[in-house]
């Protein structure tokens, strides 16, 4: 039995201690926006926020999650896709197949929280998730665009 705080809601899940957080999120909690891509923390499709930090949930056993940990998945990022990163992704038509984009968006939001005005080098360093469709150029532009949107919001 584990107690999980996901997207602000506390839930009890009945699962073996070694089960990766990803599969608890997908199979026990039933939120499928967080994706399985590799299972070995290489691709980042499973990225979620734990206490504001981006983490690859496929490689974190549920036993390592504490009840106080705040987990946010793509579904919890905003109620209405209004997060600046989501808006920027829409404005630049970033997704192709879209499968990796939950993870990309979670990585980008975590980056912008730390560095509201990231440089290209910051983006290179932080955005290491794999996209097979090759949307990288638009991801870079969208991160810059989102930084602008967030700044405007802050000034408003």
């Amino acid at each position: 039995m584990a107690k999980l705080n996901i997207n602000g809601k506390v839930r009890d899940v009945e699962v073996e201690a070694g089960t990766p957080l990803l599969w608890v999120i997908r199979e026990q909690v039933g939120l499928t926006g967080t994706k399985y891509g590799c299972g070995v923390a290489q691709c980042g499709a499973c990225s979620v926020h734990i206490n504001g930090e981006v983490k690859r949930s496929c490689s974190i056993p549920i036993s390592e999650i504490k009840p106080a940990d705040r987990i946010v998945t793509i579904e919890g990022l905003s109620a209405d896709s209004s997060h600046p990163v989501q808006r920027a992704w829409a404005a630049l038509d970033v997704p192709q197949c879209g499968y990796c984009q939950s993870g990309q968006i979670m990585a980008a939001t975590a980056l912008l929280k730390k560095k509201p005005k990231p440089t290209d080098a910051d983006i290179d360093e932080a955005m290491t998730n794999i996209c097979r469709c090759g949307t990288y150029q638009r991801i870079r532009e969208a991160v810059h665009h989102a930084a602008g949107l967030a700044k405007r919001k802050a000034q408003a």
Partner: protein, 735 residues
């Protein structure tokens, strides 16, 4: 009575149109009116949520929302939006009120393939259906106008239409598609041949860089890919097939895992695989990893990359190769030439590595099989599912999900669909979702075929190319998937891009003496189409070797190519466009070098200029790539640019890292730690130049990938003075 009966018939037909396969209605291509609404109850009921089917392509709701039917698969390439643009353009509807609906293959068969082909590969999604979908949109528009003319008793020629509103200026009347649809649906459709399609110069929706229709659900986790499907009572399966291709399952010890949490059963999956079925996928996978399995690995277990390379090498000089082109006397011309150039190139097996691993959910009963699947070929999914279930085509149903990547992997083979049905068959009436692990996905692909290529060229004293001999040796996709087309090794497809015939993948150079040969050398490793298929390997062989020849001739890379391209103006125009935008011949920052390449595939012309540098430690950096493309008609320039950008990423992954090696008959690279994929930091800045000539329809998803590797390799050659002839670059020391 007659009226009631007709209304009832049309209602049942409506039901299967929107997805539930019912037996019914024979209708000919494109323009049949299902005579949906005849009167009274029919109209009232059919105009509720679903709307009125004006023809096979267009359903109109009372609020004038136009639901456009899409038969091709969406896997990120943007075909869904492009096809909707083409229908909407002719329909003259309000783009803000466009929705789409995917056609399921059972319904298509039941309606005598009114929606044409559902297969999505070979960059044919748009070019292969543009004519009939545009006619479908135009026919619906004409019927709307006719309905308004009859209602107002005015000549149809006095009406105008725009944004789904029909107007009669003289009387000041106007009405919406939503109000006209039911009357329009009752009219006799126009003869498709009589329809005049718009000149692209008049396009307002097509040809514009408008946003995709399918983005919103990809931004908040709400999109349900096949891997995300949940059904009541569903079980989950993890599978392992013989690691050696062609091996068989000998035995397994179910008792060792049957007590593990959630495990229901261990099942045989035909002869070559075993699956654990459990209440969750993680539990199924955990038990599968713990399951002792004995394989009968078969004869292929002695094969390795080294044995395969030896076999291919033998093919480079063997007699009896298939001569795809033999013009003049290339061997003699090269023999007598003032200068000879020779080189041997090679490229490895590659997996597709779609981000969404293979998966399929199946439910089988005594008289029905249903699958929920991401597929590039819904008809093949239906055929595979029904055959595996031992049922008739009409007893099958395929629920299509948009793909988390396709790239050729999810086409006709449908091996994962077969597996899911083979497993679900053993749990009658229970839906079972099969998901492959990444390791399984890497171990059991239909790989891009491995090949080697020996090229020889002769130059005269002035540096003019007088003869070219190409001997390709490698595995044939047709031999694996479509043996009749590879009979006797005469497999034209492996020579894609060297072809003489215009229109699809024509060689853009004129060489007086030309011999293009293919020696088929197959292996036990399954092969299949991989984004760009054989244009990838042939693009490297052709364009890197031409570069070597240009250097040997002492000529500029661009000028040497131009001199060979006088008879191929479209190839040349695209090369020139790339050269111009890529500042060919202009100064570069110190340490940065350019390379150029051109190639034709999938009915489109491509060229690229790459700018690279190599650090003192031998690290290659691709700074910028300019790609030019003539795909004839440009339906959505922004989505074309997205495909070009994507082709650069896919092509560079292959150039830098892509390699599936074989040891003891099995694949070695099983996850992204040893099968690396290009990441954002390595992505060059890509500039797309679309050179649309509007006199043909070419593909978009694949054509540009074939110039990515050669442009980069040629730039690298310029940087180091040494040609790289074997991919990937991770195996090559650059400093």
């Amino acid at each position: 009575m007659k009226k009631l009966q007709k209304a009832a018939t049309s209602l049942s037909r409506r039901k299967f149109i929107v997805g539930t396969a019912a037996a019914g209605g024979g209708l000919a291509l494109g323009f049949n009116l299902p005579a949906l609404i005849d009167a009274g109850i029919g109209e009232a009921q059919a105009q509720t949520a679903a709307g009125t089917e004006v023809n096979a392509w267009v359903v109109v709701k009372p609020d004038s929302t136009c639901v456009i039917r899409i038969a091709r698969s969406e896997m990120g390439q943007g075909t869904l939006t492009g096809l909707a643009q083409l229908v909407a353009e002719e329909l003259e509807c309000d783009w803000k009120k466009v929705a789409t609906e995917t056609i399921e293959p059972g319904a298509n068969i039941a309606r005598k393939r009114v929606w044409g082909d559902t297969a999505t590969g070979g960059s044919r999604g748009i070019r292969g259906s543009q004519d009939y979908v545009r006619r479908g949109g135009a026919a619906a528009r004409m019927m709307m106008l006719q309905a308004a003319a009859e209602r107002w008793k005015v000549p149809v020629g006095e009406l105008t239409v725009s944004n789904g509103m029909v107007a009669h200026a003289a009387s000041g009347r106007s009405t919406s598609y939503g109000r006209l649809a039911s009357a329009a649906a009752k009219l006799t459709p126009p003869d498709p041949k009589s329809i005049k399609l718009k000149d692209p110069k008049e396009w307002k929706i097509a040809g514009k860089p408008i946003k995709r229709l399918d983005t919103a659900a990809k931004l908040n986790g709400s999109k349900i890919y096949a891997i995300d499907l949940k059904l009541p009572g569903m079980l989950h399966a993890a599978v392992k097939a013989s690691p050696v291709h062609g091996g068989k399952l000998a035995s397994y010890d179910e008792a060792k895992v049957s007590g593990m949490p959630g495990v229901r059963r261990v099942v045989k999956v035909n002869d070559g695989a075993v699956a654990v079925v459990a209440d969750t996928w993680w539990r199924a996978k955990t038990a599968l990893d713990a399951l002792p399995i004995v394989w009968d690995e078969g004869t292929a277990a002695i094969q390795s990359s080294a044995t395969i390379a030896e076999r291919l090498k033998e093919g480079l000089t063997a007699t009896g190769a298939y001569a795809g082109r033999n013009e003049g006397d290339a061997l003699k011309a090269i023999e007598g030439a003032a200068k000879k150039v020779e080189a041997v190139y090679s490229t490895p097996f590659l997996s597709h590595a779609t981000m969404e691993p293979m998966n399929c959910t199946a439910k089988v009963t005594a008289d029905k099989v249903e699958v929920w699947v991401a597929t590039q070929n819904a008809d093949a999914s239906l055929a595979a599912a029904t055959e595996e279930a031992g049922l008739k085509l009409a007893q099958g149903e395929v629920h299509r999900h948009d793909l988390g990547g396709g790239f050729g992997r999810r086409g006709g083979t449908q091996d994962y669909t077969r597996q899911a049905v083979a497993i679900a068959k053993q749990f009658p009436g229970v839906p079972v979702k099969l998901i492959w692990s990444r390791e399984e996905d890497q171990a059991h692909d239909f790989y891009r075929p491995i090949s080697q290529c020996k090229l020889a060229a002769g130059l005269d004293e002035s540096g003019k190319l007088v003869g070219l001999h190409v001997r390709l040796s490698g595995q044939s996709i047709n031999a694996w998937l479509n043996p009749p087309a590879a009979k006797g090794g005469n497999d034209e497809r492996q020579l894609q891009g060297w072809w003489k015939a215009p229109g699809d993948a024509q060689l853009g150079y004129t060489v007086p003496n030309l011999l293009i040969e293919y020696a088929m050398r197959n292996t036990h490793v399954p092969v299949g189409p991989w984004r760009g298929v054989n244009t990838n390997q042939n693009g490297v062989y052709m364009e890197c070797f031409i570069e070597e020849v240009a250097q040997a001739a002492g000529k500029d890379s661009l000028e040497f190519r131009r001199a060979l391209m006088g008879s191929h103006p479209k190839h040349l125009a695209v090369l020139n466009a790339a050269a111009e935008k890529g500042n060919w011949g202009k100064p570069l920052p110190s340490g940065v070098h350019r390379g150029i390449a051109q190639f034709m595939g999938y009915g489109s012309y491509s060229a690229a200029v790459a700018e690279v540098s190599v650090s003192g430690r031998g690290e290659l950096k691709v700074h910028r790539m300019v790609l030019a493309l003539d795909c004839g008609h440009a339906v959505n320039p922004d989505q074309i640019a997205a495909q070009v950008e994507g082709s650069v990423a896919y092509g560079l992954s292959a150039t830098f890292y892509g390699e599936c090696t074989v040891e003891k008959g099995r694949m070695v690279e099983l996850n992204f730690h040893n099968y690396p994929i290009l990441r954002l930091a390595e992505m060059p800045h890509v500039e797309t130049v679309i050179v649309p000539s509007y006199d043909f329809w070419g593909g978009v998803g694949e054509p540009t990938i074939c110039v990515v590797a050669p442009a980069v390799l040629n730039a690298l050659f310029a940087a180091t003075g040494k040609p790289v002839r074997s991919l990937p670059l991770k195996n090559v020391k650059l400093a």
